[in-house]
Symmetry: C2
Amino acid sequence: MTKVDKIPEPTIKRLAFYSRPLEDLLESGPPVISSEKLADSCGVHPAQVRKDLAYFGEFGVRGVGYDVRDLLREIKRILATDKPVYLCIVGVGNLGTSLIENENFKKRGYRFKAAFDSDPEKQGEKLACGLIIEPNHRIREVCREKEIEIGVIATPPRGAQRVCDLLLDAGVKGILNFAPMQVRTTGDCRVENVDFTVKLENLAYHLHRLDESEG
Amino acid sequence: MTKVDKIPEPTIKRLAFYSRPLEDLLESGPPVISSEKLADSCGVHPAQVRKDLAYFGEFGVRGVGYDVRDLLREIKRILATDKPVYLCIVGVGNLGTSLIENENFKKRGYRFKAAFDSDPEKQGEKLACGLIIEPNHRIREVCREKEIEIGVIATPPRGAQRVCDLLLDAGVKGILNFAPMQVRTTGDCRVENVDFTVKLENLAYHLHRLDESEG
DNA sequence: CTTTTCATGTGCAAAAATTCACAATGTCTT
DNA sequence: AAGACATTGTGAATTTTTGCACATGAAAAG
Ligand SMILES: NC(=O)c1ccc[n+]([C@@H]2O[C@H](COP(=O)([O-])OP(=O)(O)OC[C@H]3O[C@@H](n4cnc5c(N)ncnc54)[C@H](O)[C@@H]3O)[C@@H](O)[C@H]2O)c1
Ligand SMILES: NC(=O)c1ccc[n+]([C@@H]2O[C@H](COP(=O)([O-])OP(=O)(O)OC[C@H]3O[C@@H](n4cnc5c(N)ncnc54)[C@H](O)[C@@H]3O)[C@@H](O)[C@H]2O)c1
């Protein structure tokens, strides 16, 4: 299907990145874009864009560029977001609620099909989206029943590993972890960690470097 | 100060990563840790840990390992998070509120010193942390007055670039951007983007790959 | 005091990722 | 129809990052 066996990990990240400006262009913009323009709006090198896309096929027209609509469709197909992806969330606190209510996920085909929380006070509560918060012991059954592929962890770090184990047991194939700790999984479940403080520490480091090189 | 001019970007990211298990160990664990153990709990290679740390000095003891307390202090010093870092947030919606209320930031020395929102309904509202939501036109004055170094953007993507420009004008040196779009800055202000859907798309891609290789 | 043990720090090799540079190939103009 | 032009797709060169392997040095054991 693809030109090489193993696609570089950074390429996958960038594909998702490319789709943002393409979505904007689709609504209001020229129907065609060059690798240079696309690279510009994503802050990468034009050759990088071409090489990334070339792993999966020849989507462009020489001398012209890429058809915005076609390219976006191809990228979505590659990333497997052309069909809905079913999610569940564990931990319906501040962050969890804001994730569920966020329109961005739905727009991109990610659907929350279930929500779990260990707090008995919250169980049974009906969310704006219509979901009812269920207890943790239902994770296995509900995930299997609703064919949930990805679990989102939005609990405090203390409970994260236990929740992770429950999700593994429920057969999810991917976990998006917001708790600031490393969770262990088996080989056939992939974890992506989202840690804002890592990004902040990155900023703090470079701010400081800037001061030094100035002085 | 450091052994080479340019520290690899991945090294900085990992330093932030290393600090989390160290914080846990500090509370309850042995006072010394080996590069192997530390690497294990972060999912990286032991030699990587040693090399990353070696850029900044010799923090370990041969035959023994690293003193947890010392190492954590060194890492915090390197990342410039040994002193408080002042933040402001623009866009106090679902996500913004959950960020402000999150204890994790405070624990690591990040302090929200101001909050802004363009919605007149929200302006003047007092948050749980004591901050009062101010209008955007106050960004410049307040940021300069309170010596805010980093701005957090939590507005819808449409307004993000405008907000970014205001923050630049206010003299912030770093921006943490949660809006799913690329914002443009001048050279002396660094941007870090947080985009959950990129991570989700990553997961979706690999889920699909897994299916393929199985079939 | 000497030997053994253990884990660091690091030069070097390998692997991965990025960028260059240009032939290939399409469109537009005359 | 031919030439000018623009931009892709890609092999090669370069840069960056990772991992190996072992000398080095500190502590513990004998
Ligand atoms: N809020 C943020 O902006 C933010 C930012 C970065 C990281 N995080 C991380 O995300 C996680 C959630 O943050 P939050 O602000 O929503 O916290 P929160 O305290 O508001 O919500 C946590 C929720 O998880 C539930 N919970 C606790 N243990 C559970 C378990 N074992 N199983 C199921 N549910 C459980 C609680 O009942 C609560 O509803 C934390 O780990 C936090 O560090 C949050
Ligand atoms: N909520 C999430 O979990 C989540 C996840 C991923 C990304 N995001 C992104 O984060 C951003 C905020 O998300 P949210 O869920 O909090 O949205 P929200 O609609 O709840 O809040 C947005 C807030 O920004 C304010 N605002 C709008 N334009 C502004 C401007 N120009 N200046 C100042 N304030 C302005 C609004 O008044 C509102 O209070 C969005 O870009 C969203 O895509 C959110």
